[in-house]
C-alpha cells in the first residue's frame, strides 16, 4: 500500500492518495458503536465500583459468602478446563487422525454447546443427572451425587467449554507434519515415545490456549449452571448467581463490587490468553 517504491524523484515526497474510500465512515461508526454499546456501560460499572471506595470493596470481597462463591466459580472452572484439556485434545486427535463411520457427524456435534442456548443445556443436564434421571439413577446407588452439587457444576462447565479446546487444537493438529513423527520412528522411538515427546509438545500451546478460553467462559457461565447447581449458599452458589441475588435485593453496591472483582480477574485472564496465543503462533511458525 505504501508509496515508497515510486521511482520519479519529484513524486517521492507526495503521498499516494488512499484508493479505498470509507475509512472515516467505517472507523467512525465502529468506534461510536463500540463506545455506546460496550465501553460506556463498562466504564459505568467501574465508576460505580470506584464510588464505593477501596475499603468497602475489600469488605465485600472478603465476605464469607462472596469468597465461597468466587472460590466455587474459579475452582469448578479450573476443574472443567483441565478435564476439557485432556478430552478436548483427545477428541481433536480422533477427528483429525482417524477415519471411521460417523466422524463427520461427531465433528459437527462438537459445536453444539456454541449453538444450544445455555438454559436448555442446563435443564437437560439436570434431568439427566437428577437422582431419578437417565444417568443419575445409576450414579446415585454408587454414592455419586452429581445434580445439585459442585460436581454437577463441573459437568455443565465441561459441556460449555469443550468446543474451545477441540477447535483450537484441531487446526494445529491438521498442520502438524507427519514427517516429524516418521523421523522419530526411524530414529528408534516407539509410537508411545513419539506421541509423548514429539506430538504432545507441539500441541501443548494450542491445547493450553483452548483450555484458557474454556476457563474464561466457564468462570462467568450462568445459564447452564444454575439449574444443576442447587444454589446452596456457601456450597453450590456461583459468583454470577450471587450478583443476581444481590441485585434482586437492591444491594447494588454488593453486585457492583463482585462484578468488578470478576471483571478484573477476567481481563487479567484475557491478557494471559493473548500471550498464550502469541506463544502458540511462535511455536507453529518458528518450529
Amino acid at each position: 500500500m505504501a508509496a515508497q517504491a515510486l521511482p520519479t524523484a519529484g513524486l517521492a515526497a507526495t503521498r499516494q492518495p488512499r484508493v479505498i474510500p470509507g475509512l472515516g465512515l467505517s472507523l467512525g461508526f465502529t468506534l461510536f458503536y463500540l463506545a455506546l454499546v460496550v465501553l460506556i456501560p463498562l466504564a459505568g460499572l467501574f465508576l460505580h465500583a470506584g464510588r464505593l471506595g477501596p475499603s468497602e470493596i475489600w469488605r465485600i470481597a472478603t465476605d464469607a459468602r462472596v469468597v465461597a462463591s468466587l472460590r466455587l466459580s474459579f475452582g469448578t472452572a479450573i476443574g472443567a478446563a483441565l478435564f476439557n484439556l485432556v478430552m478436548g485434545t483427545l477428541t481433536a486427535w480422533v477427528l483429525v487422525r482417524y477415519e471411521f463411520p460417523g466422524r463427520r457427524l461427531l465433528d459437527a456435534i462438537v459445536d453444539l454447546p456454541f449453538a444450544l442456548p445455555t438454559a436448555v443445556a442446563g435443564i437437560a443436564l439436570t434431568s439427566l443427572y437428577a437422582p431419578n434421571g437417565w444417568l443419575g439413577q445409576y450414579l446415585d446407588p454408587l454414592g455419586i451425587k452429581v445434580a445439585y452439587t459442585p460436581l454437577g457444576i463441573v459437568i455443565a462447565l465441561v459441556f460449555v467449554g469443550l468446543p474451545f479446546v477441540v477447535r483450537t487444537v484441531q487446526p494445529v493438529l491438521q498442520d502438524l507434519d507427519l514427517e516429524v513423527e516418521e523421523a522419530a520412528a526411524t530414529l528408534g522411538a516407539t509410537r508411545t515415545q513419539a506421541i509423548v515427546k514429539v506430538v504432545v509438545p507441539s500441541l501443548l500451546p494450542a491445547a493450553v490456549t483452548g483450555m484458557a478460553l474454556a476457563f474464561a467462559r466457564a468462570v462467568g457461565e450462568y445459564g447452564s449452571v444454575i439449574f444443576i447447581a442447587g444454589n446452596l449458599p456457601y456450597v453450590s452458589e456461583i459468583a454470577p448467581l450471587l450478583i443476581r441475588i444481590q441485585l434482586e435485593e437492591y444491594n447494588y453496591a454488593g453486585a457492583t463490587a463482585i462484578a468488578a472483582i470478576m471483571l478484573v480477574i477476567s481481563f487479567a485472564l484475557l491478557l494471559v490468553i493473548n500471550l498464550l496465543q502469541a506463544w502458540s503462533r511462535r511455536r507453529i511458525t518458528g518450529g
Binding site: P41, L106, T118, A119, I155, A185, Y222
Partner: protein
Amino acid sequence: MAQTIQPTETGFRRPTEESSLARFLIIGLTALFLLTFLVLPLVVVFTEALGQGLSAYLAAFADEDAQAAIRLTLLVAAIAVPANLVFGVAAAWAIAKFEFKGKSVLLTLIDLPFSISPVISGLVFVLLFGAEGWLGPFLQAHNIEIIFALPGIVLATIFVTFPFIARELIPLMMEQGTEDEEAALSLGASGWQTFWRITLPNIRWGLLYGVLLCNARAMGEFGAVSVVSGHIRGLTNTMPLHVEILYNEYNLVAAFAVASLLALLALVTLLIKTVLEVRYGDELAASVRRH
C-alpha cells in the same frame, strides 16, 4: 478407515500409526464421551418434551405467555442481529482494508464481551439505566422505560452478541485484501457501488455464517437478559426465560417443549453451518474453515 488400517505387505503397521486395538479403544472412548456429554442432553430435551404425547407437547404452545415469549424473542433478534451486522461490516471494512494505529487494541476491545459473564453484561445496563443508575432519575422524569422493558433486553442482547459477525468478517476480508476493490474503483465505480457489487458478494457466505451464529446466541441468551428483563410474563419474558419459569414451576413438559424449539434452532444452525463449511469452505475465513 480402510486405507489407513491396512497392514503393509510385510504385515507391520506404519510407524506413525497406533495398533488397531489402541485405535479402536481411543475412538470408542471419544465417541462414548461425546455421546454422553453432548448428544444425550439433546436427546433428553426432545424425549421429555414429547414424553406425555404430542397433544401435551402442542398444548405448551397454545399458552398465550409462550406465544408472547416466542414473539418477543423473534423481535429482539430482529433488532439485535441487524444492528450487529451493520457494526460487523463497518468494523471489518475499517480493520481489514486500512492500516492505522491501535488496530490490535481495537480488536481486543471488540472481543471484550466474549470474556464478560452474561450476568455482568446485564448488570452494566442496570447500573446505567436502572432506578439507581446514572441515568435513572432522568429516565424516570421523562417516563422512559429501558430496564424491565424491551430496550433493556435488546441492549443486553446486542452487548452479548456484539463480536460474532465482526469476528467472522475481519479475518475473511483481511485474506481477500483490497485488489478487487481497487480494480473496481479504477474502472470508475463509486465507493458504495464497489461495496455492494464487489465486497458484499465476496463475503456473503462468511457474512451468513456470522449472522447465523449471532442469531443463535441472540435468541438463546439467558444470563444477561434475565438480569434486565424483570420476568414479567407475557411482556418481558423471552423464550429462555419462559423455559426457566416453567421449569421452576415443575411444568416440565411445557418447559422442555419450549426448550425443544430452541434446540431445533441450534440443530438447524449447526446444519447450515456444516453445509456452508463443506460447500463454501474456501469462501470462509481460514479461522472458520478449520472449525
